[in-house]
Amino acid sequence: MNLLSASHLSDWHIMGALALAGLAGPLLLPALATQIAFLWLMVVFALTWDMLGGRMGYNSFGNIVFFGIGCYAAAVVQRDGGLPYFEGLASGLVVGAVAAVLAALVFGAAMLGIRGHYFAIGTLGLGIAAGEIAAGWDYVGAGSGMALPLYPGELGSREIFFCYSLFALAALCFLVFRWLYGTRFGLALNAIRDDHDKADAMGLRTTPIKIFAWSLSAFFLALSGGLTANMIGFIDPRDVAFAGATFGVWMVLMAILGGKGTLWGPVLGAFVFHIVQELFWTYLLGWQRVALGLLIVVIVVFFPQGIMGWWAARRLRATS
């Protein structure tokens, strides 16, 4: 039919605008480079959570595990590898991605058969157990965490570098997911979400589909972990790498806030949430975490359909 329908065209418009912003942002606003880098990290968080939670109906509180594996793999490889900075970083990212995908295969085979709230609570346990194990394990610095090697470039160039790296990662993640959601695989994810038993009874190979989806999320999360650890320069087991009560919950919240199971919802949710969160940190000194808890409750209770859902309902009302 009409390949250049209105929605199709605006999709490309938004992507173009975002690409421009992503490329120009750090140059125009170098002082905000770290914040912008975190924004792209949040986009990766929301997109990867949404593949399971929004598209497949598996609400995970444990995706932070793969981020943490990425952090630690990079830190260990860069500490013990004896390589120059960028070679070390690159190998750390590769090792982290491989380790996270292997972990996703194992955890996926074990846990993706678990349904509903058992899966949600089980993955919550997974994330916290990982953080606690890291916090007690001397090889990875136990409770005091690990420091990463110093970025070799001049002052201020580190932020710019990681800002662009995380932007590239977020863009790649978005494009890959966007393509996937247009294939039979995307439809299969939705089928599993809407009625798992029916999908089984129609002969879909649900187990490999689910494990592949989680592995793909793990892949992008591990890369984002390695980059973020290097950007911050330090990882704490509970507050950075396996930060279940912050990053781990934010993933869920951003996807829901934007509208889960939609293409742009997670991206939108990440933008809105990140800005709100920065404002909290600026204006609610000392109480920002309390406010975040409250924000979660308010969003979930009063706004569970998200911005995209609200928008769609409004448009529907306008046309009918």
Partner: protein, 247 residues
């Protein structure tokens, strides 16, 4: 005609309730078989046993001569044996067209084959079958927004999309507007004759099943009460008793 499905002495318990007690029945290649019985007589449970939702406590089930009693529902479906549900099961947040696309044979393939968009031929076939079920103008609507009767039709069309050898239908006319029932009977027959799908139909409406089925099995209290051509089963005093006694 050879046997496509053979159920041999299948028993299934739920705690103390024996929902199926040594049930045996045969569905022959190409026929329309009927399964009747009062409410709670174990018809739906038997479908669950055949298609892998329930564990079977005793007996065996053969499809094309091989035992499927211990297979899960997905491999059974890939052998060409599908079912529909009494309470309907469709993918409610997906459009009717998407429901059809993901029900195609090729969607049962491995991961690599899933990483492709739905081919035009599949879309067209889905549209044709939606038209066959009388749902063509709903193709862009979410399946969850359809009425109960429309969902039943969609579920039937999804099953046909998969080109099964044997299709088990659980009360296909329940909840359908009575004026549309004759049209539905006609579609079931055409699925059988034109698309070559063997059918095993649970049906409550006696007029429908007498009209439709070549052979009928009657269950009561989880056991086979009578079996044979429609006229013989209808004339059987025990069948009359079971219906009058319970319903």
């Amino acid at each position: 005609m050879s046997a496509l499905l053979e159920v041999r002495n299948v028993t299934r318990r739920f705690g103390g309730v024996v929902a199926n007690n040594g049930v045996s029945l045969t569905v022959r290649q190409g026929e329309i078989a009927g399964l009747i019985g009062p409410n709670g007589s174990g018809k739906t449970t038997l479908f669950g046993c055949i298609t892998g939702t329930h564990a079977v406590d005793g007996g065996d089930i053969l499809f094309e001569g091989r035992s499927i009693a211990h297979l899960r529902s997905a491999p059974i479906a890939r052998l060409g044996l599908l079912r529909t549900w009494q309470q309907t099961r469709v993918y409610s947040e997906m459009t009717c067209a998407e429901n059809m696309a993901i029900s195609a044979r090729e969607a049962q393939g491995g991961l690599l084959s899933l990483l492709r968009s739905v081919p035009v031929s599949t879309r067209r076939k889905g549209d044709d079958l939606l038209a066959f079920a009388g749902l063509h103008e709903k193709r862009g609507d979410k399946a969850g927004s359809l009425s109960f009767g429309q969902q039943k039709l969609l579920e039937f069309a999804m099953a046909l999309m998969n080109e099964p050898k044997l299709l088990l239908l659980d009360e296909p006319t329940a909840g359908i507007n009575p004026t549309l029932i004759n049209g539905l009977i006609d579609r079931l027959r055409r699925a059988n004759t034109e698309l070559g799908v063997t059918l095993l139909v649970i049906e409550h409406n006696m007029r429908v099943i007498m009209n439709l089925a070549h052979r009928i099995t009657c269950l009561a209290h989880g056991e086979v009460l009578a079996e044979g051509p429609p006229e013989a089963v209808r004339a059987d005093a025990r069948v009359l008793d079971a219906y009058l006694g319970v319903a």
